[in-house]
């Protein structure tokens, strides 16, 4: 006769279990489809409002950078989630194509830095907003260099600011609310975020 306890996953902070990988990947695939649809059906039309206004819509592209890590709480989740979502939307045929991978990388890295600073220990709304802002900065850097190189400084500043605001509202607050709603359904019980 013997008794044995296996611990809750919260204790093994750094190791990715198979379930962590597959859940982040599947969420990222879902976001990739959302990216594609958003880019094709919403953003393309919104773009006629001009780049500053349109930049307010860009936050949607940063959702995986905050939602994935907030669920599985593993290092690299922001980067992994953004990259997979970018690959999927590129595969589906978004017009940014390969460039999506580059922007995904920068956006993921921006959020990842914030989570790294907390040593992957703090998962509150403040961190979510900061991570969203980080992702927004990553995105702004990319977009200003690749998409808006010819614009004047005032225009570029406005675009950068709009993207970061969009990130904070849509991703920081919206993403955090989404994770909270998921937790309430009991669907996150196998993850450290669920208990």
């Amino acid at each position: 006769m013997k008794a044995l306890e296996t611990t809750k996953p919260a204790a093994e902070l750094l190791r990715w279990r198979t379930v962590d990988i597959v859940v982040v990947a599947l969420l990222a695939v879902a976001f990739g489809v959302v990216f594609w649809a958003w880019g094709t059906y919403v953003w393309a039309w919104g773009s006629f409002l001009g780049p500053q206004t349109e930049s307010l819509l860009t936050g949607v592209w940063l959702l995986p950078a905050v939602v994935c890590p907030m669920i599985v709480r593993r290092p690299g989740a922001a980067l992994f989630g953004e990259l997979v979502a970018a690959i999927i939307s590129a595969l589906l045929g978004s017009y940014w194509g390969l460039d999506t991978l580059l922007s995904g990388l920068l956006q993921g890295a921006g959020a990842e830095v914030v989570f790294l600073i907390t040593m992957y220990r703090a998962w509150n709304p403040v961190v979510a907003v900061l991570a969203a802002a980080g992702a927004g900065i990553g995105e702004a850097i990319h977009d200003l260099i690749v998409n808006y190189p010819g614009l004047d400084d005032a225009g570029r500043a406005a675009i950068g600011a709009a993207e970061i605001v969009s990130a904070i509202v849509i991703v920081g607050i919206g993403g955090w609310l989404l994770v909270r709603a998921l937790r309430r359904t009991g669907a996150l019980q196998t993850f450290p975020s669920g208990g």
Binding site: K2, A3, E5, T6, G186, G195
Partner: protein
Amino acid sequence: MTEAPAGRPSGAAAAPPSIEATGLGWTYAGRRRPAIEGLTFRLEAGRVLLVLGPSGSGKSTLARALAGLVPHVQPGSWQGSLRVGELEVADTPARLLGERIGLVFQDPDSQLVMTRVDDEVAFGLENRAWSRTEMTARVPLALAQVGLSGFEHRSTVTLSGGEKQRLAIADILAARPGLLVLDEPTANLDPPGMYSVFEQLAVLAKRREHTIVLIEHRLEAALPLADDVLLMDDGGHQLAFAPAGAVGREAVELLDRSGAWVPRAWTGAGTSRAVERATARAVERAKARAVERATAPASQPAARGGRPADPSALLVEATGVRLEYPADTSGKRLALDAVSVAVHSGERIALVGPNGAGKSSLLFAIAGLLRPAAGTVRLRALPRNGEAVEPLRDPSRLRSSEIAARIGLVFQDPELGFVAGTARDEVNASARAAGGRTGTGSGGPDDLGADGALARFGLGHLAAEVPFALSQGEQRRLSLAALALRPPAVLLLDEPTFGLDRRGTEAVLALLDEGRTAGQAQILATHDPRLLPACDRVVALDRGRVVFDGSPAAFLAAPPFEPAEPWRDGVAPGPASTPRTAVP
């Protein structure tokens, strides 16, 4: 590329191990109640064990423990001892266990990983570091063992349910495990798929190269394969462990009382009591209405005689419905081809047929979710007291708020329909949509009688729970409860007993009886032959056409499919169709 060293000497199959459990218990992290407790039995090497028990009896947990997923992958606390051969599960790394034990799950679509058949079989071998030469030799052999030779380059998406599940078994056999654990491998399959899986299992069982642990609800097909049986109750306790042909009367009685399905061979009875009662009632009512149910050939279902004289009893009339598959799914086949069905008040119809025959398409067309390319679907609400009978109307043109009183649909996966944060709000949401107060709630102003409905459906204690966190049986009852305050005239159910044990099935049938008494018409799309006797009529579809429309008895006597065997309840497929009690 360098070849990694092989995980274990290649080629050699693991010998079939014995299984010995001593006081085995497991509690999942975060749960208070153990999933299994005090299991003590010894299964000799090379024998086939059938595990029987109601929902929640921990059958799947036992399967996971045998494969080492519990305790090595899922968190929780372990009690006692489980030995597979010479290995103590809790002390053996999951990797070692994985080389000797194979586990097949219920849902083929959530266990296949790759998109091509040969890649899929090789996946588990790659994980165990087999060399490329070994894999190339092994993959076709594993496919041959499940009758899938020549499927190597097929895409897994194009396989039928039965083929997918046999592929999942090939995936496991490829690694040559000594112990094969199958956790309800046919639950998601149509009768032909189920039949083909059992055929292969019968061959495997006969060869005696594996110890096999089988968890199954399709007892009439599974029992003939079993050497031994393990009976469990709804608390995860062991009721009995015995040779399949020597189960004590008392143990059978306990199993029956726990709510599980019990093999007919043990009870001597035909079907379960509730199903019998339901059948008797159906017969009574049919007599009372003096309806003669003809078993006319299906080619002219509309021409059947003996319809009730009262035309107002007609609730659904589908005439010459033709439905095309979306253009991109290739193949010029029709989802529905000239389908005509009339459904009357108080009628319960079983809709049967293989996967892809058009059952879901017909349900969706009746619900107005798909609009036919030709033909018409029209339906109406039940007349309320003193009101005139409303004309038949096209459901696809009804507004969402109008449709709720006429049509209800309970999906196979009920949680996809949930909208609220608690079970109580789930019922209230439906009641509110159907037009305000209908119940006799005594609660606050917001109470629309939800608590009363929940109590009637045995969910009273769960009113404040999150709907998504309920068990499958509870979720199905909740989706019925949500329809109870303002019952729709026509209730459509997709696999209403999927994943339910006998008690759950009886509960659902009892609730359906209430609705039917009030005049509701019910259409049940199902693969479960045990449900047929509880229905008034069977409509069988094959490749988009109605191939049978008549009484359940006539259907079971001569199933209109080729081959017919899988459609008869209680017929065991394969070479081992006689019960075996002794081991050679």
